[in-house]
């Protein structure tokens, strides 16, 4: 039977991957086929998202303006029964970090997109009133969502379920915080997965999108079903046998369960909301706001008080509570720079800060211009902690003549190829199961890659995001927005760092990229990137 099925799949492999270009201004959607050579250059998901963003994202997009582009992409393994190994991608310019970034959407949303007939969705413009997008049978419907305004994620999804009269759908939706552009508003899937803690919800809200819903029964041919099932069974067995790391600090969750459930309903990131609460309590305790700005916070936050009203005011995004929804750095512009000293997680605040000279091959420094869009980190921190002990280990992979550190390769692969939680099955001693991923791609999609080619694709993806962010930073030639977070010696050091990084990154004094950068990345069709 399997042999028969494989033969059948060969006949059906002509199916095409589709991109939907959604223009919310005109409520139209153009559908194009993904060229097959893109699959070899970018694989899918995050890579194609970055490439399409480079093509479509206008210069200096501001969150509130329609120029900002949101790219949604199904991961390469979506729809192939890979379960926890598959994920979809959400790429845009995130409000909290003010940089282009990526957030992984765990669960079955990517599969849902494929069943609905789409692999990628590029959303531009802004709807006149709240809408939700229904992707169905390779078409896009723009449905009125005014009645969903103010509803929580779960309430919205329940109402949508009743409206479309189907239960077999996948969706991402935002809560009130996203509607009101809270900078750390996240979004969630119908399965309850939350993603995009640096403002995916605000990005969707800024376009008046309440939800993106997928339903359909589009065929997804599998190249080698028997081999794929055998490999998946081996991987799942290994994952179950190794056990899932204790990803959640149960004590903290227990203590802050109320905040967790409130932020979930409001559609705000849990950790950043906790930081905001603690920060507000500290500022109130030391009376910082009245000293700095002659204003007294209308908050009553302490360990004993119920944080619900304060969080609801943040989510409403109006009045004196609004600055708390802008994130610590922007709020500090309102509260005074002194207030940052009371922020509870300085390491989170300063993760864009780099004291050491920039090394383009050092992934740790890449966070300088690759602020993560708030991917689901819970699955990675545990293994990353183990892996870091081996970070001196050299990997067998080279990019442009330089041997990459193993840690860099790990980050590249895990972050750029959309492997979901496959990283959980990685050997903490340092072996990267790239071969497993290569086989998964081959058995499911039918594309054959060498391991080096996969690393190159991952590097290309990261580099394209890098180009987007450096372009934005470099254009602000007088006072890059990122400089405002530093003072005195810190600012001098950071400016020197930027100066040193420019030539290495391949951009000239006019902040235009040199052609060789594009050529090396095999995206010379996008040169010159002047927009």
């Amino acid at each position: 039977m399997i042999r028969h099925a494989e033969k059948e799949s060969g006949r059906l492999m002509g199916f095409s991957w589709k991109i939907g270009y959604v223009d919310l201004n005109k409520s139209t959607a153009d559908i194009e086929t993904v060229p097959s050579e893109w699959r070899r250059r970018f694989l899918g998901g995050r890579g194609v998202n970055a490439y399409l963003s480079l093509k479509n994202l206008r210069k200096d997009p501001v969150l509130s303006k329609p120029e900002n582009v949101i790219a949604l992409g199904a991961g390469v393994l979506s729809g192939f029964g890979a379960g926890p190994l598959e994920c979809a991608g959400f790429s845009t310019r995130f409000p909290l970090t003010d940089r282009y970034g990526f957030a992984a959407i765990p669960g079955g949303f990517g599969t849902g997109m494929r069943w609905a007939g789409f692999d990628h969705l590029i959303i531009s413009g802004k709807a006149k009133h709240p809408v939700y997008l229904l992707l169905k049978d390779s078409g896009v419907q723009f449905l009125d969502a005014r009645h969903l305004k103010g509803k929580s994620v779960s309430e919205s999804i329940e109402m949508i379920r009743d409206e479309i009269k189907r239960s077999d759908f996948h969706a991402v939706a935002i809560g009130p915080a996203g509607e009101n552009r809270v900078y750390f508003a996240d979004a969630a899937t119908e399965e309850g997965w939350r993603f995009g803690k640096t403002g995916a919800g605000a990005a969707l809200g800024s376009k008046n999108i309440k939800a993106v819903v997928c339903c359909g029964i589009w065929d997804i041919p599998v190249k080698h079903p028997g081999k794929l099932l055998n490999l998946l069974k081996d991987i799942f067995d290994a994952m179950v046998a190794s056990g899932v790391p204790d990803l959640i600090d149960k004590k903290r969750i227990g203590r802050d369960l109320r905040v967790y459930s409130i932020t979930r309903a409001l559609g705000m990131d849990f950790q950043t909301s906790l930081d905001a609460l603690t920060w507000a309590a500290q500022l109130a305790k030391f009376d910082v706001l009245s000293k700095q700005t002659n204003m007294r916070p209308d908050i009553s936050v302490s360990e004993k008080n119920d944080p619900t009203p304060f969080l609801m005011r943040i989510a409403a995004g109006k009045g004196s509570a609004a600055p708390w929804g802008w994130g610590p750095l922007k709020a500090a512009e309102k509260f005074g720079h002194e207030s940052l000293k009371y922020f509870p997680s300085p390491e989170a605040l300063l993760r864009i800060y780099a004291e050491e000279p920039f090394d383009p091959m050092d992934s740790r420094r890449w966070t300088l211009f690759f602020p993560d869009g708030g991917a689901c980190k819970e699955g990675t921190s545990e293994t990353r902690g183990k892996y870091n002990s081996e970070k001196q280990k050299r990997s067998p992979f080279q990019i442009h003549g330089r041997t990459l550190p193993a840690e860099t390769v790990e980050n590249l692969i895990a972050n750029c190829l959309g492997i979901g939680t496959l990283r959980l099955s990685w050997d903490p001693a340092g072996e990267i199961h790239l071969k497993t991923f290569r086989n998964l791609v081959q058995f499911s999609v039918g594309l054959e890659f060498s391991e080096t080619e996969l690393v190159e694709i991952a590097f290309r993806t990261y580099a394209m995001e890098h180009l987007l962010n450096v372009r934005e930073a470099a254009r602000e030639s007088v006072t890059p927005s990122i400089f405002k977070y530093f003072e005195g010696d810190d600012l001098k050091r950071f400016k020197a760092l930027i100066k040193k990084m420019g030539p290495k990154s391949g951009w000239d004094k006019r902040s235009l990229f040199k052609k060789h950068v594009f050529k090396e990345l095999q995206i010379e069709d996008l040169w010159p990137l002047k927009r």
Partner: protein, 158 residues
């Protein structure tokens, strides 16, 4: 003759639907659950999930309804099979099945039903919560006996 049956315990089903997609991949080389031989239904939006699959009835209505008598019982695996060489896709069997366990694949123009994967059901292999099992009939009640015994003894499941 393999005397095993596919047993479903809805109380253990989490609604992950991995069985659906694995079945579609194995039988149709397609990640499309609409052609899956096993389907998971959510009971009245209550997060209670019920997997439904052909129970290989002793007196099978599909077998009785088939006008060309192409549906037969395969005694090796104790299952109901379709002789696709003689089937005309009239879909009488689909209409007759009281469980909705038979379906029709439109692109291929053929009816489909669970064939127990020739004695190695993939849905069972991929059901990590243990809602599906392929066991001998005489051991069906063992799980319930163990559960009742644990309750009576006040012992928690390990």
């Amino acid at each position: 003759m393999v005397e095993k049956i596919l047993q479903i315990d809805p109380q253990k089903c989490t609604g992950c639907r991995q069985c659906e997609i694995v079945c579609a991949i194995r039988c149709n080389a397609s990640g499309n659950p609409s052609v899956s031989r096993i389907r998971v239904f959510e009971w009245m939006k209550s997060s209670f999930f019920v997997p439904v699959v052909c129970p290989q009835c002793e007196e099978a209505p599909c077998l009785a309804a088939c006008p060309r008598e192409v549906i037969y019982r395969d005694k090796l695996f104790n299952r109901i099979m379709v002789d696709y060489g003689r089937c005309v896709s009239c879909r009488m069997c689909v209409a007759a099945c009281p469980f909705g366990a038979m379906g029709f694949d439109m692109p291929r123009q053929m009816v489909f039903k669970c064939d127990l994967c020739d004695g190695d059901p993939q849905c069972v292999k991929f059901c990590y919560p243990g809602a599906l099992s392929y066991t001998r009939p005489e051991t069906l009640q063992y799980e319930h006996i163990r559960h009742a015994a644990r309750n009576q003894a006040g012992v928690k499941a390990s």
